[in-house]
């Protein structure tokens, strides 16, 4: 399978949020305004690509040779948590402009299950380093696409007459359901499947 198909599969066909149900907390939590959604998406792209590559090296060159595969869960989450912390400190010192744009989202990323989930999926699928890189770029772009689309729709819904009981989250879930239905249309696209 070519890298381009892997990218498309990660980006659209198996969209991480709408098809795989990973990273739902930020998807519903941070999608009420368009500019925060873009900021969150950018931070996720950055952290996901970096953490996928680091955890891939950690798994292949430290955990596997030392026969410590059972420490995978603990090792990955600690690496991701410290990576996020490190990035936060580094941005604050070195690139204050980027920090003021992404800073508030970074701490939230530690508990974003999409980041850890992609690290696990790369191992479970037996991806090589290049495949890991392409897959994580595709997944994080797909996350950003879904988040930005959702934020745009939710800003419109705010002005719509919605029954009281369905205001807020329930109507957001229905929106997500319709979006997922639309994304199901990518099934079979270029011979890819779920």
């Amino acid at each position: 399978m070519s890298l381009f198909l892997l990218f498309l599969s990660a980006f659209l066909v198996n969209n991480i949020v709408l098809m795989r149900f990973l990273g739902l907390c930020p998807f519903f939590g941070i999608s009420s305004k368009l500019d925060t959604a873009v900021g969150m998406g950018m931070s996720v792209i950055f952290v996901m690509v970096l953490s996928s590559v680091i955890t891939w090296f950690l798994y292949q060159y430290i955990l596997m040779p030392l026969n410590l595969v059972f420490l995978r869960t603990a090792a990955f989450i600690l690496v991701i948590a410290s990576l996020v912390q490190f990035l936060e400190i580094y941005f604050k010192k070195a690139i204050p402009g980027l920090y003021s744009a992404l800073g508030i989202f970074l701490p939230l990323i530690t508990t974003n299950c999409a980041i850890l989930g992609v690290a696990f999926l790369n191992i479970d699928y037996g991806h090589s380093l290049i495949q890991t890189l392409v897959y994580s770029i595709g997944v994080s772009l797909g996350f950003t696409l879904a988040l930005v689309l959702m934020a745009g729709i939710r800003m419109r819904i705010d002005n719509a007459p919605v029954p009281d009981a369905m205001k807020g989250l329930p109507i957001a879930f229905i929106t997500a359901s319709l979006m997922a239905l639309a994304f199901l249309g990518f099934q079979g696209f270029l011979g890819l499947s779920l």
Binding site: L18, F21, L22, F28, A74, I77, L78, N112, L169
Partner: protein, 205 residues
């Protein structure tokens, strides 16, 4: 004492009221049996991590508490992952990556930080059980609705019991496939959450 226990089940139901722990709720609720398996794993991890965090709460330094919680939680998650792989391989395969991902489930870290770290052991265990059962209840209801409508069976077990044919044989041939696909999951939780708010508002009015 038992107020702690019941609060987590209905009034502060982690999924349907607080809207946390959504990822496993939606991903795993394609059948009632998968949902129960996930619920049992979460109850186990939540109760034991609350127990450990609460018993060591006086010696855990404040500035290091989050990494320590994460290590405690991931220990129990690893135990569940390996036990499930050994004794319930079919279930483990169905739940897939969502078993190791219990480690980032906000319910567990939230209860460790918000409750177990400040309360005695007995209360912490009850809180863990209550929140865990609340989560299991929500995911089990979702699993039941989605499996009955989407597959026509209830409580079918992969490679074992084929499930109760709730809606009759004819339905099995033409189920509402939409329900076990991802969009169905979003739709079911939307109406469960909306329904719960509606009845809550009517009761307090």
């Amino acid at each position: 004492m038992f107020k702690t226990f019941f609060e987590g089940i209905v009034k502060n139901n982690p999924v349907l009221v607080l809207a946390i722990g959504l990822c496993p709720t939606l991903a795993v609720s394609t059948s009632a049996f998968n949902a129960l398996g996930m619920g049992a794993a979460v109850i186990f991890v939540l109760t034991f991590s609350n127990l450990i965090v609460s018993s060591f709460r006086k010696v855990i330094p404040d500035s290091l508490r989050i990494p320590i919680f994460i290590i405690v939680i991931s220990t129990f998650v690893t135990i569940v992952d390996y036990v499930m792989k050994a004794y319930l391989p079919g279930l483990s395969k169905n739940l897939g990556v969502f078993v190791p991902l219990i480690v980032v489930n906000c319910i567990i870290l939230g209860r460790a930080e918000g409750f177990a770290y400040k309360n005695p052991v007995g209360k912490a265990i009850l809180d863990g059980l209550g929140s865990g059962i609340g989560f299991t209840l929500a995911i089990f209801i979702m699993g039941t609705i989605r499996e009955i409508l989407g597959q026509g069976t209830w409580m079918s077990i992969p490679g074992g019991f084929e499930g109760f044919k709730v809606l009759g044989q004819g339905f099995l041939n033409y189920p509402v496939l939409f329900m076990i696909l991802p969009p169905g999951g979003f739709l079911v939780i939307a109406f469960l959450m909306g329904g719960m708010r509606y009845f809550e508002a009517r009761r307090s009015a």
